[in-house]
């Protein structure tokens, strides 16, 4: 799966530049915690590793999902999902990889748009 994803990204950037690559709304953006190309390839594994040490050891490190959301939530709908231009959903729809983080995790940034009470 990783390899296929890698191919999709590289191919979309170089060989098939005319294919309609997702036009992503990267939100606030700015400096990523790591090289964007590296993140594109490895964010899945990094998040998985981070989640394990966060949940089990309480180490809240730099590859946190909440941090991704903080920077990349669209300013339009205040989320990383919702439309095919949103940061997470746009790419995952394009790559046809199921995204189920946000059934449990908040897709909205920590700082704004927090709703109280939940549900």
């Amino acid at each position: 799966m990783k390899l296929i994803l890698a191919l999709v990204f590289l191919a979309s950037g170089v060989a098939f530049a005319d294919v309609s690559v997702p036009q992503l709304d990267i939100g606030k953006g700015g400096h990523c915690v790591d090289d964007p190309k590296f993140m594109r390839l490895n964010h899945g594994d990094l998040l998985k590793h981070q989640r394990t040490i966060t949940v089990h050891q309480g180490i809240r490190g730099k590859y946190s999902l909440a941090a991704c959301v903080d920077c990349h939530a669209s300013r339009k709908n205040n989320s990383v999902i919702g439309t095919d231009r949103n940061f997470c959903q746009g790419c995952h729809v394009y790559a046809a990889v199921k995204l189920d983080c946000f059934e449990c995790h908040s897709s909205r940034p920590t700082t704004v748009g927090m709703t109280e009470g939940g549900k």
């Binding site: 590289l10 594994d45 590793h49 989640r51 050891q57 920590t110 939940g118």
Partner: protein, 237 residues
Amino acid sequence: MNSGRRQFIGRGGAMLAGLAIAPGMLLYDLAHGRPASGAVRWGMLIDTSRCESGCDDCVKACNKENGLSGGTGPADVQWIRKLELKDSRTGRGVSLPMMCQHCEEPPCVDVCPTAASFKRADGIVLVDRHLCIGCRYCMMACPYKARSFVHEPVHDQKPDVPRGKGTVESCTLCVQRVDRGETTACAEACAKAGHKAILFGNLNDPGSEISRRIKAVASTQIRADLGLNPGLHYEGL
């Protein structure tokens, strides 16, 4: 392009190998957080004589902190609840908050088939919701009825309290706050209401307020007969 791809994959591979060799121990991780330590045992001392009957500020604070609906139907999630007790012989009334007791020997952890229920090094009992398959055996095993199953899809979760349908959850001792060095939402709310019935602290530190108090006054653990050594102690029962 080919070499570029190779380079990416190679770097990714090297990184992943690094992750695999020393999980949780990479330098950048340590720079961003310290693992929960076994030298600490988080616990609570609840003084029931200070807990006011009818007051549920702790419950409200918990719901707010953790993004719970606050519903009290039989299928609604409740991490903390107020119990009103009446001594069957004397008629004496006692009011107290009830939640996960963060046992040293948690039955929920013993019975969980996937090891989703676990105890952190600092004694906080949690559910890794990435591993929970929703079998509810832990709810059957818990002597305190501390756990809830999420019966419905959840929306608008708190960013630092992920929760979702089909998994089991319970009081996390506000782990997100504890990791920031803060006290729990319930203890804070109780103090704010002027009751100060909930004392949160490190049971392993002989100098901590909770340790000194437990040494000084009589307290009990609920269902102490089961030998689970809960982290929660109650006074005035």
